[in-house]
Each structure stands twice: as structure tokens, then as C-alpha cells.
Subunit: 239 residues, 2 copies
DNA sequence: GTGCAAATATGGTCATACCAAACTTGCCTC
DNA sequence: GAGGCAAGTTTGGTATGACCATATTTGCAC
């Protein structure tokens, strides 16, 4: 007998398998970073055809539970907040190519960071302040080297995202960094600009130290909007 | 001859097909909401096996370019910002099941809306105010009916997300609504609580009218935090 | 023209086969 | 015994062909 009786009721046969494997990953039964069993093994385990197994694996991979490089064994990945961002990445990049896309994303970042510095000014703890101070110092030291200035710049802003003690924010920061960097990276750099940017960071820091939310927000908005207009003009973007 | 010579060089055969179809969708050659050609047609068009075609379709579906219900023809979807959020959905839901997940997400919402009402207070236009007023009136009228109060409540907050004129925000609002509703939905409702919530909305509206960002922010924070503590206590959540 | 039943097209699954690249084994050299 | 290399084996990627159940279309009857 060929084409065996197909289960008539349910939707997809692979769904059940996806569910089971997903549970095993979440429960730790399948360890993080360990390779998945071979497709032919899984066929036996679930008594399903290879077609279905492959479909299940593909689904899990698209959800971030497996990392499946073209010709290698899939690797088990226990997903975290970063996985979520990774899975949107491709779609977001398309959005960014549409008119106004980069601008919209950047403006949302400005919005978020305005809130972050306000909160920092009103409620940053001793350790937060210390972290900001360190990041600022590193940024200052990097002024001569545009490459590392770029990275310490990102780090300085990153400190702000840590202050809420909410894991969503650092993830968000990583997302902004990875999505916006491609555009920033193409921007001309100069020590002069580095100095300007450093001065802005210092102004933000000072306002936070002085517990002045309005000043902090204003300094940050001015800083980012200046940077934005520079990037925008660097290669004809809208907004 | 069976298993014809497989292209040795490239990684996945389906990738090229995915790319082409994706382009046709983005260019509009394949219209939004139109059904995709049948798999057997696509086999001819791309001279590929059904295996590869199906894999390509599955990939496109997972990226949100196609909506593939179990037994129907895939439907072409030109992705927008909402597609992106939709594709994170499954991962986010897992995050929410982890300790502190719901709390973290909700606190991020409070953060965003605090910023939104501040901006509304400083820069809402005539039409924004009108929209808020309408939403508020609808909310008031719905006080006796908890079901529609819930929905007009969401709408009222939604108006705030429209004010920045940035397509990311309405999308974000939809995301919050869909991710948090499952938890809200289980909360006990009463006309009394509806009245309390309505009063909060009115307070927010008034503060915006009076162009008082601090009052607006305070009113919103108080409103959401009260609601949160109510939900939290309703079924033992942390945070 | 409308309604419904038969015919057909289509997506979902199974089984089998073959290739090329990845991985394992084991022998051979230094 | 450590290291390297070649043969052998496993595994993922793809192609075919077949069959089921359901969606969709066709076509006849009223």
C-alpha cells in the first residue's frame, strides 16, 4: 500500500510534532546548543514521513527554536528576547527600504530615549550613574578613533536602556543598534563630529546628575535630532 | 533517471524561488490578497520539484508574505509593520509565560504611554483632541456594558498612539492589545470599575486639554498602575 | 437563472531513490 | 602514540510518483 491513510481530522500533521519538540526544548530535555536527532531518527520517533519531519524542522527553525544552516545538523536554540528580534529582522529590513521607514524607526528611538533620560533624571540609582560615568569616560577616550567612538557611543546609549531593569529595553536597544547601524555606518565620520557628539553625551549626563528631566530630555532630543539631520542629508532620506 | 542532478553549488534551491516570489509581491506583480498559483503551476514556472516549491511557499508564509491556511490556496500578503509584530507573536507569547514576562511587557506599555500623553499635552493638534473627545464619549456611553467598555477602553488608548503620526505606534498599540488582552480578559469586570476607569480617562483628557504634560503623565501612570495591580492581584502575578 | 451533484484541481502526506557534502572509521606513516 | 589521510557511512537536499480528502469548478436538471 502506498500513500497510507492520512489523518483526516486535524490540520497539519507537522503541528503536533512541532509542539512536542518545542516542549522538549523548553523543558531542557533537548539541551541548548546540542544537535537535533537526524531526520531519519525523528521519522521513527514520531512514526511520520520524512516530508512531515522536514516541515516540522523548518517551522521550528523559522520560530527560532532551531538554527538550521544549509547542510548541517540543526542546532537546538532555547529562545530569548533576542530571538524574537532576530525573527522580525528580515521583515523590518524591508520596511526600512520603504519611504519613511528609517525615519519612522529613528523617531521611535528618539521617543523611547526621551522617556529613558527623563526617568534616569528622576530615578537613576547610584550604580546607574556610575555606569553612565564609565560609559562617558570610555566615549571620551575614543574620540580620536572614529571606529571605537561609534561603538562607545552605542554603549553609552545602551546604559540608558538598562536603567528600567526591564529585559525588554536592552533587547530594544540591540534592535535599534542593529537596524540603524547600516545607515549610520555609511555616514562620514570625523574627529570634529565625535567631539560634538561627546559634548552632547556629557550634557545629557549632567542633566541627569542634576536631576533635571526637562533638561535631560531636551539635551537628548537635540543630540539625536542633530545626528539624524546629518544622516538624512548624508544620503537623501526623507523625514 | 530518478533524482536528477542536484545543483551542487548553491545552498538551498528554494531560496532563489523565495527571492523571486518575494520580489513579485513587493513590486505588486502579485497583488495583495490575491491567491498564489497552484503548486503544480509553480513547478512549471520555476522548473523545480514540488518539494522545493512547497518549501519555498512555507518559507514565504513564515515570513508573512503569504497567508497559508491549512487546506486553502496561499494568499498573497504585502507585509507592513504589523506583519513584523505578527511574526514575533509566537516567541513573545512564550516570553510572557516566564516569570515577570507579563509584568515586563506591561511596564513597557506604561513607559510608552507616559511618553505619548506628555507629547499629546504639548503638541496634540485640533483633530487629535477631537479624536480623543470622541473616544472618551464612546467610552462613557459604554460604562453599563463591560464588554464594549473594554473595547472602547482600548480604542481610547489607541488614539494616543495615533498622535505621533508614526506608523510604528499604531502597530505597537495593536500588539499590546493582542498580547495583553488574554490576561486582561480574565479580570473580573464591574460597572463600578468601569466608572473608575472612565474617570481616569477623563482626567488624562483634561490634562492634555490643559496642556499640562506632568499632570497628564501622572494621571496616566496612576490609571495604568491601578489597573495593573488589580490584574496582578486577580491571579497571582509577580511584579 | 439557480441548485446541486459529479468531475476535477489542489494541498497534504507517504514512500523511495539518488546525489553531494558532512561525518566517522580505520589504517598507515612518522 | 599522535597525526593525517582515504575509504566508508550517515545525513540533509532534491526529484518522482502515488494517493487521500477537501476545495473548487463544471455541467446538467429544473
Amino acid at each position: 500500500m502506498r500513500g497510507k491513510e492520512t489523518v483526516p481530522s486535524e490540520g497539519r500533521a507537522s503541528d503536533a510534532i512541532v509542539e512536542q519538540i518545542q516542549q522538549r526544548i523548553l523543558s531542557g530535555e533537548l539541551a541548548h546548543n546540542s544537535p537535533l536527532s537526524s531526520e531519519r531518527d525523528l521519522m521513527e520517533q514520531f512514526s511520520a514521513s520524512r516530508t512531515v519531519i522536514r516541515e516540522a524542522v523548518a517551522t521550528l527553525a523559522s520560530r527560532g527554536f532551531l538554527e538550521a544552516r544549509p547542510r548541517y545538523r540543526p542546532i537546538v536554540r532555547k529562545p530569548g528576547f533576542d530571538t524574537a528580534l532576530n525573527s522580525v529582522g528580515s521583515v523590518v529590513e524591508l520596511m526600512l527600504e520603504q519611504p519613511g521607514g528609517v525615519s519612522a524607526l529613528f523617531q521611535s528611538r528618539v521617543f523611547v530615549e526621551r522617556g529613558l533620560v527623563r526617568d534616569a533624571a528622576t530615578s537613576a540609582g547610584r550604580d546607574d550613574i556610575a555606569a553612565l560615568k564609565d560609559a562617558l569616560a570610555a566615549n571620551k577616550a575614543a574620540i580620536p578613533d572614529s571606529e571605537s567612538f561609534f561603538s562607545t557611543d552605542i554603549d553609552f546609549h545602551g546604559v540608558l536602556y538598562n536603567i528600567p531593569r526591564n529585559p525588554i529595553f536592552p533587547t530594544l536597544h540591540a534592535a535599534y543598534a542593529s537596524w540603524l547601524s547600516p545607515h549610520w555606518g555609511r555616514m562620514a565620520r570625523s574627529q570634529e563630529r565625535n567631539e560634538t557628539n561627546y559634548a552632547s553625551h556629557e550634557a545629557i549626563y549632567s542633566a541627569i546628575l542634576e536631576r533635571d528631566p526637562d533638561a535631560a530630555e531636551a539635551a537628548l532630543a537635540s543630540h539625536l535630532n542633530t545626528a539624524w539631520s546629518f544622516v538624512r542629508d548624508s544620503f537623501g532620506l526623507e523625514g
